[in-house]
């Protein structure tokens, strides 16, 4: 059975390590914060100027001056720090963030990513995405394997305007956990109950399948 968005978030959360500084993009990536494994400490960075995002505020306690990159009200954890946007992007551009998780429209088998523009239809702007993918040590894309029309989002080449080139390291979709290698996509795990055949069929880019592919443990 294909994973739902929480399942994707749960699998990505398994990649977190103790002491990691992490930036989570809007959409499915934000859900990763709900599945941080027991016993490890992860500090979430918000590009608009907070290191140490806490849980959403209690009912009635939302503060206009305390929001995340998606403009939602949040709290700050104990030990948090506030700073300006130039400092925030020094953290990002200077390679201080251990893991970046973001969504995508398309990913190519060389690790290119398109996530910010559909020409003539959707031009919301790139926000911090280009900075994140250009400088992150470790990038995981969270996405559905195909779009609503059933077309693969894992391609030989991106067709939409690029956010970054040769930068994606891992992809978690509703069907699979895939690594981007020098030779293309490599299938590492399948979603519980999902067949290798289905994943191969729904992947347009070059997909390496070697040996038995285990199921994700989610």
């Amino acid at each position: 059975m294909a994973l739902d968005k929480n399942g994707i978030a749960k699998r990505i959360a398994q990649e977190l390590q103790d002491g990691y500084y992490v930036n989570l993009g809007i959409g499915i990536p934000t859900l990763v914060a709900n599945y941080i494994p027991e016993g490890i400490e992860v500090i979430l960075q918000s590009e608009n100027g907070l290191l140490g995002i806490g849980p959403f505020p209690a009912k009635g306690k939302a503060q206009a001056d305390l929001i995340n990159a998606g403009k939602q009200t949040i709290t700050a954890m104990k030990g948090a720090a506030f700073f300006d946007s130039a400092t925030s992007f020094a953290m990002i551009r200077g390679g201080h963030i251990d893991l970046t998780v973001l969504g995508a429209f398309e990913v190519s088998d060389q690790g290119d990513i398109s996530s910010w523009k559909i020409p003539g239809k959707m031009v919301k702007g790139m926000g911090g995405a280009m900075d994140l993918v250009a400088s992150a040590k470790n990038i995981i894309v969270a996405t559905t394997h195909t779009d609503r029309a059933g077309n693969s989002k894992l391609l030989k080449s991106c067709t939409l305007p690029l956010t970054g080139v040769k930068c994606v390291k891992k992809i978690v979709t509703d069907l699979a956990f895939i690594e981007v290698t020098d030779n293309g996509f490599k299938l590492l795990e399948r979603a519980p109950g999902v067949s290798v055949e289905e994943i191969v069929e729904k992947t347009d880019g070059k997909l390496i399948v070697e040996g038995d592919i285990p199921e994700m443990n989610v």
């Binding site: 209690a58 551009r93 280009m130």
Partner: protein
């Protein structure tokens, strides 16, 4: 030394048609509300506005967009404003989209006297069009130029008569850098305190960068997405 002026109307004196303005804020957080209202009332047009976002349709910069007072926007994300997206797609509004970190650094550099610098964001994308690419240590970078403005309008929590500013939580965002990059910087603040009350260790923007300070009235401080525990 006393940089305090009476209100937004006094503060924006000198802002004219076709000027370049910087406006602080991230989404609706930390935006100079009174100043924007005053710009709308004043009917200044042909503005080039440098701001990370474009507000929402009926608040923040969205108000200036509705009255077609803005000729060009330099921003990183305009998703929450349908009118902006419409004006962009139709060609009515000239838009330059910058990666957010690049925008932040262009403004910081402008205030810091650095005319150009190299960053990796946008290499290999349409952001790189027309820009010099240079390799450092085997990695490619784009040359980006600095940004300055005729007026920078920032929003702060506290100020004193010397123009020292303190921000609250995530309402700093672009305000600190913009304060340094305006020929004239206007600070719209929630509280004006006596000189000496702001501890030197806690000041975010030293007063040297700020020319005018005024106390805001009737701030709405709208929240875009109130998100709370059930």
């Amino acid at each position: 030394m006393n940089k305090i002026v009476k209100n937004a109307k006094e503060a924006i004196k000198g802002i004219q048609d076709n000027m370049t303005l910087m406006l602080g804020g991230f989404g609706l957080c930390g935006i100079p509300e009174n100043s924007i209202t005053e710009l709308v009332n004043n009917n200044v047009t042909g503005l080039t506005c440098i701001s990370n976002n474009a507000g929402v349709d009926d608040f923040g910069l969205g108000l200036l967009l509705h009255k077609h007072q803005i000729k060009k926007m330099i921003s990183s994300y305009v998703g929450e404003n349908k009118e902006f997206e419409r004006q962009l797609l139709s060609g009515e509004l000239e838009v330059e989209l910058n990666p957010q970190g690049t925008l932040a650094e262009r403004i910081r550099a402008g205030g810091a006297g650095i005319p150009a610098f190299f960053v990796p964001a946008g290499v290999g994308t349409e952001v790189a069009e027309g820009k010099e690419v240079r390799k450092f240590d085997g990695k490619e970078y784009l040359m980006e130029t600095c940004l300055t403005a005729d007026f920078a309008i920032v929003k702060a929590w506290k100020a004193d008569a010397y123009g020292n500013l303190v921000y609250r939580d995530t309402a700093n965002n672009f305000n600190n850098m913009m304060a340094s990059a305006g020929k004239i910087t206007i600070a719209e603040v929630e509280e004006i305190v006596p000189v000496g009350e702001l501890a030197p260790n806690e000041i975010h923007t030293p007063g040297i960068f700020v020319q005018r300070v005024f106390k805001a009235e009737n701030l709405e401080k709208r929240i875009e997405f109130v998100t709370e525990q059930e």
